[in-house]
């Protein structure tokens, strides 16, 4: 199923006929979604011609998850509902944007890999480079959403809004959060005031910055938080409102480019804990890692770093506590270890992968960690 979808990225031409003409939509109508049938009774808005053009890039996730029963909030199959059906579910969104879609993948969060990331980045860049496009929405599983969001934050070269959206409850669940999240994501992607804010994550009406947001709860709908720094705005019903301008580099200011890349350097994460040894780090290097993020400290890290540095492996020090910066000490410079600032390990990994496409120089990579 996944490979079939990867082979066929399909684009809709006319958003108005999404709900009725797409073959996979028809196939899935047997789901028997009462709310969907009700929603489809609302007439599509066809009056305005100049609505902003927003494209949904679907990758799968819980937002398109399917379970046999509506009270099943786990045990569903992620990425089962095609994008056309996600959109047909919210005809109200047709009033705020002229919506098209592309299917990049239909996987859950853990299935997102380098190939999907690169394909997604190239597709979003191509769409935003079109003069008449307004913004992009990416549907994604929530578990690794922050990684994809930060990756896109570093490689999308546009000021146009890019909003990553997901859901904590599957498409088939009672009180599912997906439709309203998707509706709001489309509103934000269509809003010129959202431009220049980098890639944003939107769930629960909160607009979060890709660099700073993290998933904090395994299953509740208020899972996405930006510890210390907070959201940058809100998709409230009366108005979309922004309170914060970002000061680090992102999207249109970024020096990273994946246009010609078919793969990214391998970087792994070693977790630090009491009595942790060097075996994991050594194994990662043996497996081809070019960089390693040390998340907090293990007693064995010092020897592993010394050996790894001799092989040209780049190390980044992050911290597992979940907020606050890794301080820049003279010590870290001597060790040849880059400090991750306040990036968590999974985001530090993304930046290190992109940094390694440019250089192996630790000082230069430290600069990147202080700028992005």
């Amino acid at each position: 199923m996944v490979s079939w979808c990867l082979r066929r990225v399909r684009e809709s031409r006319d958003s108005a006929d999404l709900a009725v003409s797409h073959p996979r939509f028809k196939k899935n109508r047997t789901l028997g979604m009462a709310p969907l049938l009700l929603a489809s009774c609302i007439p599509l808005y066809t009056g305005a011609q100049a609505l902003p053009k927003v494209r949904l890039f679907a990758t799968g996730g819980t937002i398109s998850g399917f379970a046999a029963n509506r009270d099943m909030q786990y045990g569903y199959k992620a990425g089962s509902i095609p994008p056309a059906k996600l959109l047909a579910d919210i005809p109200e969104a047709q009033k705020v944007a002229d919506i098209s879609w592309e299917e990049i993948a239909e996987v859950g969060s853990p299935g997102v890999n380098t190939q999907i990331l690169l394909k997604l980045a190239k597709a979003v860049n191509a769409w935003l480079a079109q003069p008449d496009s307004a913004g992009a929405v990416v549907s994604h599983g929530t578990a690794t959403m922050e990684e994809t969001a930060y990756f896109l934050n570093l490689v999308i070269h546009s000021k146009k809004p890019v909003v990553i959206v997901g859901a904590m409850r599957p498409f088939t669940s009672i009180s599912r959060d997906g439709p309203f999240n998707l509706y709001n994501a489309i509103r934000v992607a269509a809003d010129p005031e959202a431009a220049g804010n980098g890639v944003m994550i939107l769930l629960n009406e909160e607009i979060q910055a890709a660099r700073d947001v993290t998933k904090t709860n395994t299953e509740r709908v208020n899972t996405f938080e930006t510890r210390d720094l907070g959201p940058i705005g809100f998709a409230d019903e009366d108005r979309i409102v922004f309170y914060r301008r970002l000061l680090y580099k992102h999207t249109y200011q970024s020096e990273f480019n994946v246009d010609d890349l078919t793969d990214l350097p391998k970087v792994d994460i070693a977790y630090g804990y009491q009595e942790g040894g060097r075996a994991a780090v050594d194994a990662m290097i043996a497996d081809g890692a070019k960089g390693i993020v040390l998340d907090d400290t293990s007693p064995g890290f010092a020897a592993a770093v010394k050996a790894g540095r001799e092989k040209g492996i780049v190390f980044v020090q992050s911290d597992r506590k979940g907020s606050g910066r890794v301080l820049e000490s003279a010590n870290s410079g001597e060790r040849g270890v880059v400090t991750a600032d306040n990036l968590n390990a999974q985001k530090a990994r993304m930046l290190l992968r992109l940094a390694l496409t440019k250089t192996n120089d630790v000082k230069e990579i430290q600069r990147m960690f202080l700028e992005y």
């Binding site: 720094l229 940058i232 970002l246 000061l247 910066r325 000490s329």
Partner: protein, 366 residues
């Protein structure tokens, strides 16, 4: 038990006028300060300028006969400040045994801050203040002081003499932020507990603990970390140089009162506020901004007399939205401001207009 007894004995024996909690051995002072930025520390008092005889006295300090901590005392206790900046001080504390801070003190401080900020020799300003009302005072300065130089509000939760007092590091960090070129043009700032917050968004959330100040809804914008002062974000709402009140020298403002909402809240408090001369009323509504039926009736009565009513939400975060129902009722929605800050913005707005729709614009932009 022996060590703790010794500590208590020491504390009791120590002269009241000496700060007790700062360990010794300050680093060597910089002799030549010519290369350092010039930071003015303005004292409006507060817990950070308070002392008690007993270092375990963390809640009942100050009072009659107990002298406060003067700016000179801070410099004496924290010689490290001289390594961060060339420091001068201005003492705006009320005389001892005065009746406490009033809005007149805020007006006076605003005039003083405008004056200091206009001095080309000054690079940044630190203002100390009691923590209970510091957020609204800082917000006022955010709207009326015309400068892009850093103005950093600071205080402490424990008195200067308290055990593990937070005052010294807070003051040290505030001076670092005020001396930082990165802190320019971000509006009036607030720095305590190593967090840098904006005056508009910061709120005191806990009575006595040191982690009390939070940027409600939208978080901090930076940190005063041990290795460096760092900013991640800047505010988008209008402030200082972009405020239309910047540089204004108010001697008084139209009176505005705050009324709380709850089950069965009576409308007569709103009538009473207006009878006493209020030109505006902030009603701190339940949930996302609901009034009691009696308050709804009272609001209609006072609106007919030309009084502007602003609606805030007592829940403590989130915006009061411009719903059709609120618009129909001619209620100005207070965005995500707490009532005490909505009051200050309404007072300023009422110096320009009494048209509720024009007042709404202030709440949308500031």
């Amino acid at each position: 038990m022996k060590p703790s007894l010794a500590v208590i004995a020491l504390a009791l024996l120590s002269p009241v006028l000496l700060a007790q909690e700062i360990p010794g051995a300050p680093p060597p002072a910089v002799q030549d300060q010519s290369h350092l930025p010039h930071v003015v520390i303005v004292s409006m008092g507060g817990t950070i300028a308070s002392r008690a005889a007993d270092r375990m006295n963390l809640t009942n300090y100050g009072g009659k006969g107990v002298p406060g901590v003067s700016p000179a005392d801070w410099l004496h206790d924290l010689p490290e400040l001289n390594n961060l900046a060339h420091i001068t001080t201005v003492d705006l504390r009320n005389p001892p045994n005065s009746s406490g801070e009033s809005f007149d003190d805020t007006f006076k401080a605003a005039r003083e801050l405008n004056k200091i900020a206009a001095d080309p020799a000054v690079d940044g300003i630190v203002v100390t203040h009691g923590t209970s009302t510091m957020a609204e005072v800082a917000f006022y300065m955010n709207l009326v002081v015309k400068t892009d130089k850093p103005i950093v509000f600071v205080g402490s939760q424990r008195p200067w003499t308290g055990i593990s007092g937070d005052g010294p590091l807070n003051l040290y960090d505030a001076v670092r932020v005020a001396a930082s070129p990165l802190a320019r043009d971000k509006g009036v700032l607030h720095c305590m507990n190593q967090y840098i917050n904006t005056a508009r968004d910061v709120t005191k959330t806990i009575g006595y603990r040191v982690q009390t100040f939070k940027g409600v809804d939208v978080g901090a914008i930076g940190f005063a970390d041990p290795d460096k002062v760092v900013f991640y974000r800047e505010p988008m709402r209008r402030h200082t140089t972009s405020s239309e009140f910047a540089g204004a020298n108010f001697q008084s403002l139209p009176p505005v009162e705050i009324v709380y909402s709850y089950i069965g809240a009576p409308g007569y408090l709103i009538d009473a506020a207006v009878a006493h001369g209020a030109k505006g009323v902030v009603v701190d509504g339940t949930g996302p901004g609901h009034l009691s039926p009696s308050q709804t009736q009272a609001v209609k009565r006072v609106q007919e007399k030309g009084v502007v009513v602003v609606l805030t939400g007592r829940v403590g975060s989130g915006r009061v939205q411009q719903t059709p129902r609120n618009t129909e009722a001619k209620l100005v929605t207070g965005d995500n401001l707490p009532p005490e800050k909505a009051r200050i913005l309404l007072q300023l707005a009422l110096t320009r207009t009494h048209d509720w729709q024009k007042v709404q614009r202030y709440f949308d932009e500031y």
